[in-house]
Symmetry: C2
Subunit: 280 residues, 2 copies
């Protein structure tokens, strides 16, 4: 299969059964806005729908569009409210005192941006867009009133933060105990589930982030990411061509995540036992 074929097929699948993009022969490939057709109505409607304190025009005014490499906000910026990602994708990263940056999360439509600012009213992270994207802004005063007037919003906010905490924990576990292969496998499965949740194909999608982003996020060298991708491809677990990725064998991916976690060598097992013993 040529790159071109894979590409077009992927794009077709990515946008599902919609005929709008079918038969497109000339399609911008990587490094271009690609995912801005996603639409995040679910969460947004849940939050806003039940609130009478925000009228339509206010909602419309709060929408803004950004492009690749734009920052939504940066470390140190004053916190003014939170954002809902409507389309596109973004990454958030923190900066160590010497300027080294570390990606903490990737965002897709429906995700909340900026909840890191509640603590000190200053953002501790920078959010940068990976492609053309749009967000909906909810300013702090709105948050406060919505919290009181809309149980849906209140629960949504708490749930969203709580969910992030849970996935952070999983991420920490992955970072600290998983092998490179497992990290990548986990990353791909997470992405896949994310796309499925958004009613997009979970088996064929494109990565809106670079290899370097992935490496940084997973705490490994970019070369290792490349090698793991190559290895997975050779084993027919995935097919990857630059940003275009298809998962061919979910079973294997799942077992990679699972296997190394439990039944690797006997040695590891005994070590796990030791750790478990101590956990009491």
């Amino acid at each position: 299969m040529t790159a071109r074929q894979l590409r077009v097929m992927s794009v077709d699948k990515l946008y599902g059964t919609s005929n709008t993009y079918r038969g497109v022969t000339k399609m911008k490939t990587s490094y271009q806005p690609q995912n801005d057709y996603y639409n995040a109505t679910t969460l947004l409607d849940t939050y806003m729908g039940s609130s009478s304190s925000i009228n339509q025009s206010q909602q419309r005014d709060s929408h803004r569009v950004f492009h690749r490499r734009d920052n939504l906000f940066s470390v140190g910026n004053y916190f003014e409210g939170i954002y809902l990602l409507r389309s596109g994708s973004a990454k958030s990263f923190i900066t160590s005192r010497d300027g080294e940056e570390h990606i903490t999360k990737f965002y897709y439509p429906g995700d909340m941006l900026g909840i890191d600012g509640f603590d000190a009213h200053v953002h501790t992270q920078t959010v940068r867009f990976l492609e053309t994207s749009s967000v909906c802004f909810i300013k702090e005063s709105q948050i406060n009133s919505l919290i009181q007037t809309s149980p849906d919003f209140r629960n949504g906010l708490l749930q969203s933060m709580s969910h992030t905490l849970a996935s952070d924990s999983a991420m920490m576990m992955c970072l600290s105990t998983c092998s490179s292969e497992q990290k990548v496998a986990q990353f791909l499965l997470d992405l896949s589930f994310g796309f499925s949740d958004r009613n997009l194909s979970g088996s064929e999608f494109m990565l809106s982030m670079t290899r370097t982003d992935i490496a940084n996020y997973l705490g490994m060298a970019i070369e290792t990411v490349s090698r793991v991708f190559a290895s997975f491809q050779q084993r027919n677990i995935i097919a990857v061509k630059l940003r275009y990725l298809s998962i061919l064998d979910f079973e294997s991916l799942n077992s990679i995540v699972a296997i190394d976690n439990c039944s690797q060598t006997l040695a590891k097992k005994s070590n796990i036992k030791r750790v478990k013993q101590a956990l009491n």
Copy 2:
């Protein structure tokens, strides 16, 4: 200095200028409740003080005492509300599908426990006490009413969750980019700051967790933790005797965290540059 001397001195310092524990010659040492004299009034009073919806007796009823190895709640337990740790210490951990456990956080007086349950109304983590501890329970209905009636509580809750998110990010960065030495140094400094914030000595304290806990938390082998401790001790950066730890040289600890992050070898620098380049 003998172990006994170090021990008694540490205990004296730990409990500050209070004469109650001065001159105690026979003191239970490790593996015994030790920190349950801490008192977390600040946060608690802030939250509760401004609320008229909770009376004194309700507050008193909501207090509970636990012992070492007790679980506050376990993965899968129904979420009924959050807890404020009043005294003692605890750890939270998640469990992978094969039963391996990973510690996500250690808790000290004033910390909130259980905010992981907002998402699905089920706890995704287990909280287990490291020593005799007491908590104050705030049930969900109270949370909801407090959120609406008490701006202090609302902000406190959001700030606490937001703060946790920020420290999770820092932790992820540490886990993925730091060397073993840096991880341990960071861990010790974090502990130290935590104790200082609680008006306890930040330079002499005891670890309420085992080496295995530390290793698990930092994602490294227990032997490595031991070796790093030994190395720090040899370099006169810390003095450690089992659970009793004194930081002798904050400068060095700080520079360890800082140095390796920025100016290690030229090689690493160039890699960082590469990563930075990609972060745009």
